[in-house]
Protein backbone atom coordinates (compact mmCIF):
# COMPACT_ATOMS: atom_id res chain seq x y z
CA UNK A 1 0.00 0.00 0.00
CA UNK A 2 1.48 3.39 -0.99
CA UNK A 3 1.44 6.47 1.20
CA UNK A 4 -1.31 7.98 -0.97
CA UNK A 5 -3.65 5.16 0.04
CA UNK A 6 -3.35 6.13 3.67
CA UNK A 7 -5.40 8.68 5.49
CA UNK A 8 -3.63 11.14 7.83
CA UNK A 9 -2.96 10.18 11.44
CA UNK A 10 -5.47 12.80 12.50
CA UNK A 11 -8.21 10.62 10.98
CA UNK A 12 -7.70 8.10 13.75
CA UNK A 13 -10.12 8.61 16.66
CA UNK A 14 -8.53 9.72 19.92
CA UNK A 15 -9.91 6.69 21.72
CA UNK A 16 -8.05 4.32 19.38
CA UNK A 17 -4.81 6.24 19.96
CA UNK A 18 -5.33 6.09 23.69
CA UNK A 19 -6.17 2.39 23.71
CA UNK A 20 -3.18 1.50 21.53
CA UNK A 21 -0.66 3.48 23.56
CA UNK A 22 -2.09 2.38 26.91
CA UNK A 23 -2.25 -1.34 26.10
CA UNK A 24 1.21 -1.28 24.53
CA UNK A 25 2.61 0.43 27.62
CA UNK A 26 0.92 -2.04 29.97
CA UNK A 27 2.16 -4.96 27.85
CA UNK A 28 5.76 -3.70 28.10
CA UNK A 29 5.53 -3.18 31.86
CA UNK A 30 3.80 -6.52 32.36
CA UNK A 31 6.42 -8.48 30.44
CA UNK A 32 9.27 -6.53 32.05
CA UNK A 33 7.93 -7.54 35.47
CA UNK A 34 7.89 -11.25 34.57
CA UNK A 35 10.75 -13.26 36.09
CA UNK A 36 13.62 -14.07 33.75
CA UNK A 37 13.60 -17.65 32.44
CA UNK A 38 15.91 -19.91 34.39
CA UNK A 39 17.80 -22.68 32.66
CA UNK A 40 17.35 -26.11 34.16
CA UNK A 41 18.90 -29.36 33.02
CA UNK A 42 16.46 -31.95 31.76
CA UNK A 43 17.19 -35.59 32.33
CA UNK A 44 17.53 -37.75 29.24
CA UNK A 45 14.31 -39.71 28.78
CA UNK A 46 14.26 -43.30 27.62
CA UNK A 47 13.87 -43.62 23.85
CA UNK A 48 10.76 -45.07 22.27
CA UNK A 49 10.96 -48.65 21.13
CA UNK A 50 12.54 -49.29 17.70
CA UNK A 51 9.17 -50.51 16.42
CA UNK A 52 7.45 -47.28 17.46
CA UNK A 53 10.26 -45.23 15.98
CA UNK A 54 10.00 -47.15 12.72
CA UNK A 55 6.34 -46.15 12.51
CA UNK A 56 7.24 -42.54 13.24
CA UNK A 57 10.00 -42.66 10.64
CA UNK A 58 7.38 -43.10 7.89
CA UNK A 59 9.57 -45.40 5.84
CA UNK A 60 12.73 -43.36 6.42
CA UNK A 61 14.38 -45.08 9.39
CA UNK A 62 17.86 -43.99 8.33
CA UNK A 63 16.77 -40.34 8.27
CA UNK A 64 15.15 -40.65 11.69
CA UNK A 65 18.25 -42.42 13.02
CA UNK A 66 20.32 -39.45 11.84
CA UNK A 67 17.99 -36.98 13.54
CA UNK A 68 17.98 -38.97 16.77
CA UNK A 69 21.78 -39.13 16.72
CA UNK A 70 21.94 -35.36 16.41
CA UNK A 71 19.39 -34.94 19.20
CA UNK A 72 21.39 -37.19 21.49
CA UNK A 73 24.66 -35.57 20.51
CA UNK A 74 23.26 -32.11 21.31
CA UNK A 75 21.64 -33.22 24.54
CA UNK A 76 24.61 -32.08 26.60
CA UNK A 77 23.97 -28.56 25.30
CA UNK A 78 20.49 -27.71 26.47
CA UNK A 79 19.10 -24.18 26.23
CA UNK A 80 21.13 -22.01 28.55
CA UNK A 81 23.06 -24.83 30.15
CA UNK A 82 25.87 -27.19 29.23
CA UNK A 83 25.95 -30.60 30.88
CA UNK A 84 29.29 -32.41 31.09
CA UNK A 85 29.09 -35.85 29.48
CA UNK A 86 30.00 -37.44 32.80
CA UNK A 87 26.73 -36.15 34.28
CA UNK A 88 24.62 -37.92 31.67
CA UNK A 89 22.87 -41.13 32.56
CA UNK A 90 25.03 -43.55 30.55
CA UNK A 91 22.48 -46.36 30.70
CA UNK A 92 20.03 -44.07 28.93
CA UNK A 93 22.68 -42.93 26.47
CA UNK A 94 23.39 -46.58 25.61
CA UNK A 95 19.66 -47.23 25.15
CA UNK A 96 19.53 -44.37 22.67
CA UNK A 97 22.63 -45.52 20.81
CA UNK A 98 21.25 -49.07 20.60
CA UNK A 99 17.90 -47.88 19.26
CA UNK A 100 19.61 -45.71 16.66
CA UNK A 101 21.71 -48.65 15.49
CA UNK A 102 18.61 -50.80 15.27
CA UNK A 103 16.95 -48.17 13.10
CA UNK A 104 19.96 -47.89 10.82
CA UNK A 105 22.37 -50.83 11.23
CA UNK A 106 24.71 -49.45 8.55
CA UNK A 107 25.42 -46.17 10.31
CA UNK A 108 28.73 -45.75 12.11
CA UNK A 109 27.76 -42.49 13.78
CA UNK A 110 26.50 -43.85 17.13
CA UNK A 111 29.63 -45.97 17.47
CA UNK A 112 31.78 -42.97 16.63
CA UNK A 113 30.00 -40.99 19.36
CA UNK A 114 30.38 -43.88 21.79
CA UNK A 115 34.10 -44.23 21.10
CA UNK A 116 35.10 -40.61 20.59
CA UNK A 117 32.74 -38.68 22.85
CA UNK A 118 31.18 -40.76 25.56
CA UNK A 119 34.20 -43.05 26.17
CA UNK A 120 36.47 -40.04 26.68
CA UNK A 121 35.09 -39.02 30.07
CA UNK A 122 37.47 -39.20 33.04
CA UNK A 123 35.32 -41.82 34.74
CA UNK A 124 36.52 -45.45 34.38
CA UNK A 125 33.09 -46.91 35.16
CA UNK A 126 31.43 -44.92 32.39
CA UNK A 127 34.32 -45.61 30.02
CA UNK A 128 33.89 -49.34 30.62
CA UNK A 129 30.13 -49.11 30.01
CA UNK A 130 30.76 -47.48 26.66
CA UNK A 131 33.49 -49.99 25.70
CA UNK A 132 31.14 -52.81 26.61
CA UNK A 133 28.45 -51.26 24.40
CA UNK A 134 30.92 -51.04 21.51
CA UNK A 135 31.90 -54.68 22.02
CA UNK A 136 28.26 -55.81 22.09
CA UNK A 137 27.51 -53.95 18.87
CA UNK A 138 30.73 -55.27 17.28
CA UNK A 139 29.54 -58.83 17.88
CA UNK A 140 26.38 -58.08 15.86
CA UNK A 141 28.35 -57.10 12.74
CA UNK A 142 32.10 -57.59 13.23
CA UNK A 143 33.15 -56.87 9.66
CA UNK A 144 31.41 -53.50 9.66
CA UNK A 145 32.23 -52.38 13.18
CA UNK A 146 35.75 -53.72 13.84
CA UNK A 147 37.33 -50.25 13.78
CA UNK A 148 35.37 -49.09 16.81
CA UNK A 149 36.40 -52.16 18.75
CA UNK A 150 39.99 -51.47 17.73
CA UNK A 151 39.57 -47.99 19.17
CA UNK A 152 38.02 -49.50 22.30
CA UNK A 153 41.02 -51.81 22.52
CA UNK A 154 43.36 -48.81 22.59
CA UNK A 155 41.22 -47.04 25.18
CA UNK A 156 41.26 -50.16 27.37
CA UNK A 157 45.02 -50.50 27.03
CA UNK A 158 46.18 -46.90 27.36
CA UNK A 159 43.47 -45.15 29.37
CA UNK A 160 42.12 -47.92 31.57
CA UNK A 161 45.45 -49.81 31.64
CA UNK A 162 43.42 -53.00 31.45
CA UNK A 163 45.48 -55.23 29.17
CA UNK A 164 43.22 -58.22 29.74
CA UNK A 165 40.22 -56.29 28.39
CA UNK A 166 42.28 -54.94 25.51
CA UNK A 167 43.44 -58.46 24.68
CA UNK A 168 39.86 -59.76 24.73
CA UNK A 169 38.80 -57.07 22.25
CA UNK A 170 41.85 -57.60 20.04
CA UNK A 171 41.29 -61.35 19.97
CA UNK A 172 37.66 -60.88 18.97
CA UNK A 173 38.74 -58.69 16.09
CA UNK A 174 41.22 -61.33 14.94
CA UNK A 175 38.71 -64.15 15.28
CA UNK A 176 35.46 -62.58 14.15
CA UNK A 177 36.30 -59.82 11.68
CA UNK A 178 38.00 -61.29 8.61
CA UNK A 179 37.38 -58.05 6.73
CA UNK A 180 39.51 -56.08 9.20
CA UNK A 181 42.98 -55.10 7.94
CA UNK A 182 46.00 -57.01 9.13
CA UNK A 183 47.17 -54.38 11.60
CA UNK A 184 43.88 -54.70 13.46
CA UNK A 185 43.99 -58.48 13.38
CA UNK A 186 47.57 -58.41 14.71
CA UNK A 187 46.84 -56.16 17.67
CA UNK A 188 46.45 -59.02 20.11
CA UNK A 189 50.00 -60.18 19.34
CA UNK A 190 51.50 -56.89 20.45
CA UNK A 191 49.26 -56.71 23.48
CA UNK A 192 50.45 -60.16 24.49
CA UNK A 193 54.00 -58.94 23.99
CA UNK A 194 53.34 -55.95 26.22
CA UNK A 195 51.86 -58.26 28.81
CA UNK A 196 55.07 -60.31 28.85
CA UNK A 197 53.36 -63.24 27.15
CA UNK A 198 56.18 -63.48 24.61
CA UNK A 199 55.81 -67.20 23.93
CA UNK A 200 52.12 -66.80 23.05
CA UNK A 201 52.91 -63.77 20.90
CA UNK A 202 55.60 -65.69 19.07
CA UNK A 203 53.29 -68.60 18.33
CA UNK A 204 50.60 -66.29 17.00
CA UNK A 205 53.01 -64.24 14.92
CA UNK A 206 54.71 -67.34 13.56
CA UNK A 207 51.32 -68.81 12.70
CA UNK A 208 50.31 -65.64 10.94
CA UNK A 209 53.48 -65.63 8.83
CA UNK A 210 53.37 -69.36 8.10
CA UNK A 211 49.65 -69.26 7.24
CA UNK A 212 50.28 -66.98 4.27
CA UNK A 213 47.58 -64.55 5.35
CA UNK A 214 50.00 -61.68 4.91
CA UNK A 215 50.94 -60.86 1.32
CA UNK A 216 52.66 -57.49 1.57
CA UNK A 217 56.48 -57.92 1.46
CA UNK A 218 57.11 -54.91 3.71
CA UNK A 219 54.67 -56.15 6.27
CA UNK A 220 56.19 -59.65 6.22
CA UNK A 221 59.63 -58.06 6.69
CA UNK A 222 58.39 -55.94 9.61
CA UNK A 223 56.75 -58.89 11.32
CA UNK A 224 59.80 -61.09 10.77
CA UNK A 225 61.95 -58.43 12.40
CA UNK A 226 59.49 -58.27 15.24
CA UNK A 227 59.56 -62.05 15.65
CA UNK A 228 63.36 -61.98 15.74
CA UNK A 229 63.32 -59.21 18.32
CA UNK A 230 60.98 -61.27 20.48
CA UNK A 231 63.24 -64.29 20.19
CA UNK A 232 66.31 -62.21 21.04
CA UNK A 233 64.52 -60.71 24.01
CA UNK A 234 63.53 -64.16 25.16
CA UNK A 235 67.07 -65.50 24.73
CA UNK A 236 68.67 -62.55 26.49
CA UNK A 237 66.25 -62.60 29.38
CA UNK A 238 67.62 -65.74 31.17
CA UNK A 239 71.25 -64.54 30.53
CA UNK A 240 70.59 -61.27 32.24
CA UNK A 241 69.07 -63.13 35.11
CA UNK A 242 72.30 -65.08 35.61
Amino acid sequence: MSARDERPLSAIPRGVWLMLVATFGIQLVWQALQPKPVASATALDAPLSPAALRVMAGGEPAALAGLLTLYLQAFDNQPGISIPFRHLDYRRVIQWLTVILELDPRTQYPLFNAAQLYAQVPDPARERMMLDFIHTEFLRNPNLRWRWLAHACLVAKHRLHDNALALKYARDIALLAPAAPDWAKQMHIFILEDMGEIESAKILLGGLLAGGQIQDAHEIHFLMERLKAMENAENSAPTSKN
Binding site: D5, E6, R7, I12, L20, I26, P37, L48, P79, G80
Partner: protein, 258 residues
Protein backbone atom coordinates in the same frame (compact mmCIF):
# COMPACT_ATOMS: atom_id res chain seq x y z
CA UNK B 1 -27.60 1.30 17.91
CA UNK B 2 -23.80 0.91 17.85
CA UNK B 3 -23.90 -2.10 20.13
CA UNK B 4 -26.57 -3.64 17.94
CA UNK B 5 -24.38 -3.22 14.85
CA UNK B 6 -21.39 -4.81 16.60
CA UNK B 7 -23.47 -7.78 17.76
CA UNK B 8 -24.94 -8.23 14.26
CA UNK B 9 -21.49 -8.34 12.67
CA UNK B 10 -20.33 -10.80 15.35
CA UNK B 11 -23.39 -12.96 14.79
CA UNK B 12 -22.83 -13.04 11.03
CA UNK B 13 -19.19 -13.95 11.60
CA UNK B 14 -20.32 -16.95 13.64
CA UNK B 15 -22.98 -17.76 11.05
CA UNK B 16 -20.33 -17.71 8.32
CA UNK B 17 -18.28 -20.27 10.27
CA UNK B 18 -21.35 -22.48 10.54
CA UNK B 19 -22.24 -22.11 6.85
CA UNK B 20 -18.79 -23.08 5.66
CA UNK B 21 -19.01 -26.13 8.01
CA UNK B 22 -15.99 -25.06 10.06
CA UNK B 23 -17.19 -27.02 13.08
CA UNK B 24 -17.50 -30.20 11.05
CA UNK B 25 -14.07 -29.64 9.56
CA UNK B 26 -12.55 -29.24 13.00
CA UNK B 27 -14.48 -32.24 14.32
CA UNK B 28 -13.06 -34.30 11.45
CA UNK B 29 -9.54 -33.12 12.30
CA UNK B 30 -10.20 -34.03 15.94
CA UNK B 31 -11.35 -37.49 14.94
CA UNK B 32 -8.21 -38.03 12.86
CA UNK B 33 -6.02 -36.78 15.73
CA UNK B 34 -7.83 -39.10 18.18
CA UNK B 35 -7.31 -42.02 15.81
CA UNK B 36 -3.62 -41.21 15.42
CA UNK B 37 -3.23 -40.83 19.19
CA UNK B 38 -4.90 -44.19 19.72
CA UNK B 39 -2.52 -45.73 17.20
CA UNK B 40 0.47 -44.20 18.99
CA UNK B 41 -0.88 -45.57 22.27
CA UNK B 42 -1.11 -49.05 20.77
CA UNK B 43 2.43 -48.85 19.48
CA UNK B 44 3.97 -47.67 22.77
CA UNK B 45 5.32 -50.38 25.01
CA UNK B 46 5.32 -48.35 28.19
CA UNK B 47 3.63 -45.13 29.37
CA UNK B 48 1.14 -45.63 26.56
CA UNK B 49 -1.59 -43.41 28.05
CA UNK B 50 0.92 -40.67 28.77
CA UNK B 51 2.12 -40.74 25.17
CA UNK B 52 -1.44 -40.81 23.88
CA UNK B 53 -2.45 -37.73 25.90
CA UNK B 54 0.69 -35.82 24.98
CA UNK B 55 0.33 -36.62 21.29
CA UNK B 56 -3.36 -35.75 21.18
CA UNK B 57 -3.02 -32.51 23.15
CA UNK B 58 -0.06 -31.23 21.14
CA UNK B 59 -1.67 -32.14 17.81
CA UNK B 60 -5.05 -30.66 18.67
CA UNK B 61 -3.47 -27.45 19.93
CA UNK B 62 -1.59 -26.96 16.67
CA UNK B 63 -4.61 -27.91 14.59
CA UNK B 64 -6.84 -25.46 16.47
CA UNK B 65 -4.43 -22.58 15.90
CA UNK B 66 -4.01 -23.52 12.24
CA UNK B 67 -7.72 -23.87 11.51
CA UNK B 68 -8.73 -20.71 13.35
CA UNK B 69 -5.98 -18.50 11.88
CA UNK B 70 -6.66 -19.72 8.36
CA UNK B 71 -10.38 -19.21 8.83
CA UNK B 72 -9.91 -15.58 10.00
CA UNK B 73 -7.53 -14.82 7.13
CA UNK B 74 -9.69 -16.37 4.39
CA UNK B 75 -12.88 -14.87 5.77
CA UNK B 76 -11.53 -11.32 5.54
CA UNK B 77 -9.87 -11.97 2.18
CA UNK B 78 -13.23 -13.21 0.87
CA UNK B 79 -14.82 -10.00 2.12
CA UNK B 80 -12.15 -7.92 0.38
CA UNK B 81 -12.64 -9.80 -2.88
CA UNK B 82 -16.45 -9.66 -2.78
CA UNK B 83 -16.33 -5.92 -1.97
CA UNK B 84 -18.45 -6.72 1.06
CA UNK B 85 -16.31 -4.44 3.19
CA UNK B 86 -16.93 -1.42 0.96
CA UNK B 87 -20.64 -2.20 0.94
CA UNK B 88 -20.76 -2.46 4.73
CA UNK B 89 -18.85 0.75 5.29
CA UNK B 90 -21.15 2.60 2.88
CA UNK B 91 -23.80 2.26 5.59
CA UNK B 92 -23.84 4.21 8.80
CA UNK B 93 -21.18 2.04 10.40
CA UNK B 94 -18.01 3.14 12.15
CA UNK B 95 -14.79 1.44 11.19
CA UNK B 96 -14.02 0.72 14.83
CA UNK B 97 -17.39 -0.96 15.24
CA UNK B 98 -16.74 -3.16 12.22
CA UNK B 99 -13.40 -4.28 13.71
CA UNK B 100 -15.01 -4.87 17.10
CA UNK B 101 -17.85 -6.89 15.61
CA UNK B 102 -15.48 -9.00 13.58
CA UNK B 103 -13.21 -9.50 16.60
CA UNK B 104 -16.10 -10.59 18.80
CA UNK B 105 -17.33 -12.99 16.12
CA UNK B 106 -13.90 -14.53 15.75
CA UNK B 107 -13.59 -14.81 19.53
CA UNK B 108 -16.82 -16.79 19.44
CA UNK B 109 -15.34 -19.07 16.78
CA UNK B 110 -12.19 -19.43 18.91
CA UNK B 111 -14.25 -20.39 21.96
CA UNK B 112 -16.22 -23.04 20.08
CA UNK B 113 -13.01 -24.51 18.65
CA UNK B 114 -11.42 -24.51 22.13
CA UNK B 115 -14.52 -26.24 23.51
CA UNK B 116 -14.44 -28.93 20.81
CA UNK B 117 -10.70 -29.42 21.36
CA UNK B 118 -11.19 -29.85 25.12
CA UNK B 119 -13.82 -32.61 24.85
CA UNK B 120 -11.44 -35.49 24.01
CA UNK B 121 -8.98 -34.25 26.66
CA UNK B 122 -11.75 -34.55 29.27
CA UNK B 123 -12.09 -38.23 28.42
CA UNK B 124 -8.38 -38.99 28.73
CA UNK B 125 -7.25 -36.60 31.49
CA UNK B 126 -8.83 -35.44 34.78
CA UNK B 127 -11.71 -33.09 33.83
CA UNK B 128 -10.55 -30.16 35.98
CA UNK B 129 -7.07 -30.23 34.44
CA UNK B 130 -8.61 -30.60 30.98
CA UNK B 131 -10.79 -27.56 31.71
CA UNK B 132 -7.75 -25.50 32.63
CA UNK B 133 -6.05 -26.68 29.47
CA UNK B 134 -9.12 -25.73 27.48
CA UNK B 135 -9.31 -22.25 29.01
CA UNK B 136 -5.66 -21.71 28.26
CA UNK B 137 -6.26 -22.85 24.67
CA UNK B 138 -9.17 -20.41 24.42
CA UNK B 139 -6.87 -17.58 25.57
CA UNK B 140 -4.24 -18.61 23.04
CA UNK B 141 -6.83 -18.82 20.26
CA UNK B 142 -8.31 -15.39 21.02
CA UNK B 143 -4.85 -13.87 20.71
CA UNK B 144 -4.29 -15.74 17.44
CA UNK B 145 -7.69 -14.63 16.13
CA UNK B 146 -6.88 -10.99 16.95
CA UNK B 147 -3.42 -11.34 15.42
CA UNK B 148 -4.79 -12.92 12.23
CA UNK B 149 -7.33 -10.11 11.88
CA UNK B 150 -4.62 -7.51 12.43
CA UNK B 151 -2.34 -9.14 9.85
CA UNK B 152 -4.94 -9.51 7.11
CA UNK B 153 -6.19 -5.95 7.67
CA UNK B 154 -2.62 -4.67 7.44
CA UNK B 155 -1.21 -6.80 4.62
CA UNK B 156 -4.58 -7.29 2.80
CA UNK B 157 -3.09 -10.37 1.06
CA UNK B 158 -3.22 -13.95 2.24
CA UNK B 159 0.39 -15.00 1.72
CA UNK B 160 2.20 -12.27 3.70
CA UNK B 161 -0.47 -12.33 6.41
CA UNK B 162 -0.32 -16.13 6.81
CA UNK B 163 3.50 -16.04 6.83
CA UNK B 164 3.49 -13.39 9.55
CA UNK B 165 0.99 -15.33 11.67
CA UNK B 166 3.02 -18.53 11.30
CA UNK B 167 6.30 -16.76 12.14
CA UNK B 168 4.74 -15.02 15.12
CA UNK B 169 3.35 -18.28 16.49
CA UNK B 170 6.60 -20.19 16.07
CA UNK B 171 8.57 -17.36 17.66
CA UNK B 172 6.28 -17.04 20.66
CA UNK B 173 6.43 -20.80 21.24
CA UNK B 174 10.23 -20.87 21.11
CA UNK B 175 11.25 -17.46 22.44
CA UNK B 176 12.04 -18.60 25.99
CA UNK B 177 14.35 -21.35 24.71
CA UNK B 178 16.01 -18.87 22.34
CA UNK B 179 16.52 -16.41 25.20
CA UNK B 180 18.11 -19.10 27.34
CA UNK B 181 20.43 -20.17 24.53
CA UNK B 182 21.32 -16.54 23.87
CA UNK B 183 21.99 -15.88 27.56
CA UNK B 184 24.58 -18.65 27.84
CA UNK B 185 26.25 -19.17 24.46
CA UNK B 186 28.98 -21.78 24.22
CA UNK B 187 31.44 -19.33 22.67
CA UNK B 188 31.78 -15.62 22.00
CA UNK B 189 29.43 -14.23 24.62
CA UNK B 190 31.40 -10.97 24.74
CA UNK B 191 31.07 -10.30 21.02
CA UNK B 192 29.09 -7.22 20.01
CA UNK B 193 26.97 -9.30 17.64
CA UNK B 194 25.96 -11.52 20.53
CA UNK B 195 25.09 -8.55 22.72
CA UNK B 196 22.93 -7.05 19.98
CA UNK B 197 21.16 -10.38 19.39
CA UNK B 198 20.60 -10.78 23.11
CA UNK B 199 19.10 -7.30 23.44
CA UNK B 200 16.94 -8.00 20.40
CA UNK B 201 15.60 -11.20 21.98
CA UNK B 202 14.94 -9.48 25.30
CA UNK B 203 13.13 -6.69 23.42
CA UNK B 204 10.98 -9.24 21.59
CA UNK B 205 10.14 -10.91 24.90
CA UNK B 206 8.69 -7.60 26.08
CA UNK B 207 6.40 -7.31 23.07
CA UNK B 208 5.30 -10.92 22.51
CA UNK B 209 3.06 -13.15 24.64
CA UNK B 210 4.78 -16.18 26.15
CA UNK B 211 2.87 -18.97 24.40
CA UNK B 212 5.31 -21.57 25.68
CA UNK B 213 3.65 -21.18 29.09
CA UNK B 214 0.13 -21.63 27.70
CA UNK B 215 -1.78 -24.86 27.02
CA UNK B 216 0.97 -27.30 27.97
CA UNK B 217 0.45 -31.01 27.32
CA UNK B 218 2.41 -31.66 30.52
CA UNK B 219 -0.53 -30.34 32.55
CA UNK B 220 -2.72 -33.13 31.22
CA UNK B 221 -0.08 -35.84 31.38
CA UNK B 222 0.97 -35.27 34.96
CA UNK B 223 -2.27 -33.70 36.20
CA UNK B 224 -0.31 -30.70 37.41
CA UNK B 225 -1.98 -27.68 35.87
CA UNK B 226 -1.14 -24.35 37.41
CA UNK B 227 -3.23 -22.83 40.17
CA UNK B 228 -6.46 -21.15 39.08
CA UNK B 229 -5.00 -17.82 40.18
CA UNK B 230 -2.09 -18.32 37.77
CA UNK B 231 -4.55 -19.23 35.02
CA UNK B 232 -6.41 -16.00 35.77
CA UNK B 233 -3.17 -14.04 35.34
CA UNK B 234 -2.59 -15.63 31.94
CA UNK B 235 -6.19 -14.91 30.98
CA UNK B 236 -5.65 -11.26 31.95
CA UNK B 237 -2.50 -11.20 29.87
CA UNK B 238 -4.38 -12.67 26.92
CA UNK B 239 -7.09 -10.03 27.35
CA UNK B 240 -4.51 -7.25 27.43
CA UNK B 241 -2.74 -8.55 24.34
CA UNK B 242 -6.02 -9.00 22.51
CA UNK B 243 -7.00 -5.40 23.25
CA UNK B 244 -3.57 -4.27 22.06
CA UNK B 245 -3.97 -6.15 18.79
CA UNK B 246 -7.53 -4.88 18.42
CA UNK B 247 -6.34 -1.31 18.91
CA UNK B 248 -3.53 -1.85 16.39
CA UNK B 249 -6.07 -3.23 13.88
CA UNK B 250 -8.37 -0.24 14.37
CA UNK B 251 -5.42 2.13 14.06
CA UNK B 252 -4.39 0.61 10.77
CA UNK B 253 -7.93 0.33 9.46
CA UNK B 254 -8.69 3.96 10.25
CA UNK B 255 -5.73 5.08 8.17
CA UNK B 256 -6.75 3.05 5.12
CA UNK B 257 -8.35 4.77 2.14
CA UNK B 258 -10.93 2.44 0.64
Amino acid sequence: MRGHQIVTIARYTLLEATRIRLWWLFALILAIACGAAWFVQQVAITESTRIQIAFLAATVRLAAVFVLSLHVLTSIVREFNDKGLELMLSFDLRRGDYVLGRLLGFFGVALVIALLATLPQCVLAPPVTALQWGLSLACELTIMAALSLFCIMTFTQLMPAASFVLGFYLLTRTLTAIRLIGAEPTTGNDALSHQIMSWGMEGLALVLPAFDRYTQSAWLIDNNAAEWSVSAIWAAQALLYTILLGAATMFDFHRRNL
